[in-house]
Symmetry: D2
Subunit: 328 residues, 4 copies
Amino acid sequence: MENKAITKIGVLTSGGDAPGMNSAVRAVVRSAFYYKLEVFGIYRGYEGLIQDDIKKLNSRDIAYILERGGTFLKSARSDEFRTPEGRKIAYENLKKHGIDALVVIGGDGSLTGAHLFYKEFGVPAIGLPGTIDNDLAGTDFTIGFDTACNTAIQAIDKIRDTATSHDRLFFVEVMGRDAGFIAINAGIGSAAAATLIPEKKMPIETLIERLKVREKAKKQANVVIVAEGGKSGGALEISQKVKKFLPNYDIKVTILGHLQRGGSPTSFDRLLSSKLGVAAVEGLLHGKYDVMAGLINNKVVYTPIKRAIVDDKDVDEEDFRVAKILST
Amino acid sequence: MENKAITKIGVLTSGGDAPGMNSAVRAVVRSAFYYKLEVFGIYRGYEGLIQDDIKKLNSRDIAYILERGGTFLKSARSDEFRTPEGRKIAYENLKKHGIDALVVIGGDGSLTGAHLFYKEFGVPAIGLPGTIDNDLAGTDFTIGFDTACNTAIQAIDKIRDTATSHDRLFFVEVMGRDAGFIAINAGIGSAAAATLIPEKKMPIETLIERLKVREKAKKQANVVIVAEGGKSGGALEISQKVKKFLPNYDIKVTILGHLQRGGSPTSFDRLLSSKLGVAAVEGLLHGKYDVMAGLINNKVVYTPIKRAIVDDKDVDEEDFRVAKILST
Amino acid sequence: MENKAITKIGVLTSGGDAPGMNSAVRAVVRSAFYYKLEVFGIYRGYEGLIQDDIKKLNSRDIAYILERGGTFLKSARSDEFRTPEGRKIAYENLKKHGIDALVVIGGDGSLTGAHLFYKEFGVPAIGLPGTIDNDLAGTDFTIGFDTACNTAIQAIDKIRDTATSHDRLFFVEVMGRDAGFIAINAGIGSAAAATLIPEKKMPIETLIERLKVREKAKKQANVVIVAEGGKSGGALEISQKVKKFLPNYDIKVTILGHLQRGGSPTSFDRLLSSKLGVAAVEGLLHGKYDVMAGLINNKVVYTPIKRAIVDDKDVDEEDFRVAKILST
Amino acid sequence: MENKAITKIGVLTSGGDAPGMNSAVRAVVRSAFYYKLEVFGIYRGYEGLIQDDIKKLNSRDIAYILERGGTFLKSARSDEFRTPEGRKIAYENLKKHGIDALVVIGGDGSLTGAHLFYKEFGVPAIGLPGTIDNDLAGTDFTIGFDTACNTAIQAIDKIRDTATSHDRLFFVEVMGRDAGFIAINAGIGSAAAATLIPEKKMPIETLIERLKVREKAKKQANVVIVAEGGKSGGALEISQKVKKFLPNYDIKVTILGHLQRGGSPTSFDRLLSSKLGVAAVEGLLHGKYDVMAGLINNKVVYTPIKRAIVDDKDVDEEDFRVAKILST
């Protein structure tokens, strides 16, 4: 514990909420207490930092939040924080409370904030990957991703019930921004006829061809999973194109939407966020600043924020290959 | 058991699938066996009756289906059955298999078929209310309704996680066709700011007024439940109107869609469908034809199909009043 | 609203916790606000009333509790409240806060307390049926019962997976005290081979006979549901007796236990508790004291507490008959 | 694909069933079809191999099984297979059907069978780790483990509702045989006061000391997770010891039991089992015999069965440390 300076840690969640954020905050607070540090909750992300929406946290604040979806610290966009002036105000607020280090839980935009804050004011800051999209380098899995995958397949299981009952074809759009992680997991996990992900352009003709083969085999009922960020368009657009070529199909579309963001975190996300919460506090105490704590091959790894954000992280080729072999 | 003629029962599911249909079919088959009758499964509803997609069912066919969503007998539209010629073919197929009575599980369209079939050919036919919409008279609850309500609130619970985290207002559209039953249950069950149902026209101004009061009280995060069949439009349309008057709100829309049709039936739906499945077989054996078996005040009641279909069944005024008092 | 005196309501939960208690408390608070009343939360049941663990509730206290299991007001046993001296202290505490009416949510023991309190001190008190056991007269369903049934069948569905995979016979013990409501619902809902409930003594020989028939039919895998309060003993005891006579069976036992008490309330329980919470406040305002608000045939009914507690409420004979016909 | 001999693959599940086994079988069948191989389902594990309970599988057999718990191929103990004579008969049955390679899905006992079968008869055999216990070397995660962890925490979440409502302390016993993997995940995931695992002996005095500290801090409500294979005894035994020293605690015990084995597989288990199913078939085609296909650091790895069985695999020290820091 070489850095004796740190005695008060601030923690905030920022960007789109993800299941496990609460569990991560709880782990930050509990390990801070374990190391005799104080913790301040910064509400509504960077916006709250600017507006001084900051409160010292105690054990009671984090009781029974581990299992809850969303983030009790709330999250918000902050245009002001993007300006040097805004960040100056934020820094003054930190100083006012005597907060000498920061844990930021969020996606790439949120981590960028932590990076800037460290660069401009030298505030020891560490990031945790909190996003359902799994699109951050420096960690095999982001906090919330596993829960979102389970939410998606449970919804798709229900959709498959009705698809089968009516011999229908459903195009189901899942979240993931520019990344196909949720889609590929949902595609394999729901025995999809095809999975369209941003990383791999599947020409509409290929999709139609595959569906025609199925039609001949009298297999109509099924799902096609479409990642929201796909280059061929969303589920609605693609379904309409397909319909033109396969008029006999009874085609429906469901856009799962924001329900994928919520829900009680899975066992996997509770473990991941707990480990990373501890790693964040211990990282700060060991002088690891401007990094993101992630889990690679089941071990905690600290990656410079700049690299975690910029590096491309694509869907595993092997997963894509498996999805293709197993598609029905 | 005055009607000795009945020895072979046919059972079919028709219209939109609903959780509990499988459980109802199982109950029909098991009670038929209990009364030493044979049962034939008619696949794909009336369409399968016309195309002779009929199979004798045994114990194995109904093992482990009680807990499954959808309908293993499948469902389909049948334009042909709407014609006298189509129904003639269907009747010939029944005769061919020696089927002397019919159990039809479905919504109003499906029950109409059973009624016609009885009227035109004298085939003893009994209906069971199988629809998530709960829009049939002659029963307090239709098979699948309770499961759909639970699916809806579980999804909305997740949406509320993210709504709260971001202080957003979500317009969530639920199913129910022209009836607001799912919506009112979801509205009360998810502490909604407002619930818009087809039975009660709420002027957009009233909704906006209520939301403005909330805004002043700094309560932004919440959900508004919108029934799909509402006269003021769907969730998307209404949200856009609201947005104009409340530009500061961060508004999102989720249309739950077909996932509400699937899923393992709840305890309530398993019990309801089991009781009605027994009631269908015993009704036929007691000469109750052209009726729908339903549950009113926890007792089995046989209602003439014609009345079950035509009578209006609206959301309980008391439920609507409670929803209003409890809206936040 | 003839009783002008009531301006401050106290609310407490008592006895075994049940899913929906939070939702009921929320409904009490919100409808109190609707009628411009103040509400005080009494923590840890009657014990808190004696120890003056009483706090005025506001909107924030009841935000996001509707969907949570357990009771945020907590529950506890109180030996002291059973003494006149204890109740005297409790009454003094009520007076101190100016609380002029009481809503008590709980089972028969809890409602007895409300009754005594009204009798001895004239405190307007109304009870709500909060127990998973469904063993109160004056209401078709108690708050928490539907959730407990769903928890039970979801657990039993999982047990059936493994039972089938290994051709095993599971004896599953469910809760319900002296009542077989959860058991009969679970038995029908999980296609049980037999259901043993306290209300109906099934001789062990009958059970063994039925299982022998199954054995001959090569159907080994299945579940037998045993209500905890059964006269023939618990699941463990019965399974051991059966094992002696059916040595070839691979028999296992699972006692579901306290997990049946928790969990987010179902749609049914959210609606029920919401309606009854409103009914409690409106009942008090209309001078209905010493009664329990329940739902009979979907309508709110106020029953004298004494009758709600004393009257026997048994499992519906019809449900029992259906369970027998459908047992596999 | 150097081994041209393999054209017919047999697949069986053996030992305790685990969620994801069906999904693994599906992946074996679908990838076999992809490589133009035939697949035979061997029912009831090695017992079915001896009794010739073998059936050629087609697409229909594996439709809608991916999402189901248990194993549709069933599992059984086989004393006969443990004898050379039994294995001889089993081998003859394989030959009779022309099956020239075997995929065995199960735990260490099951994989031992595959190993012997390869050693004695030269039958190309590959194993997949199918057990909820996660106690196999050669893979980071076994099929079924993630689902069992989720089942456990969902049950414990419910138990915590009631624990908190009554300020009780629950001792919850989870499965895992001699391994503490489920326990440590459940302990971290449910904010347990302590987690007792077989790998780490915690003296009862230490546990009591920790609970006394909590008692002083007025934190009574909580859970202690106990792995079934712990050296200090099961949950019941430990709770009784603790009760003697902490008489004021309201202590309850729940043994989760067999419900942990069932249930629809999680997204993680669906992906894992799908990948390993493909890896099994491709391994056989590449001449990888007498090995178990596992996933290490997200990559498929083939480990000699002998090593996968014998090597100790203990709970990650880091996880244990995290559990301790975060215990409440």
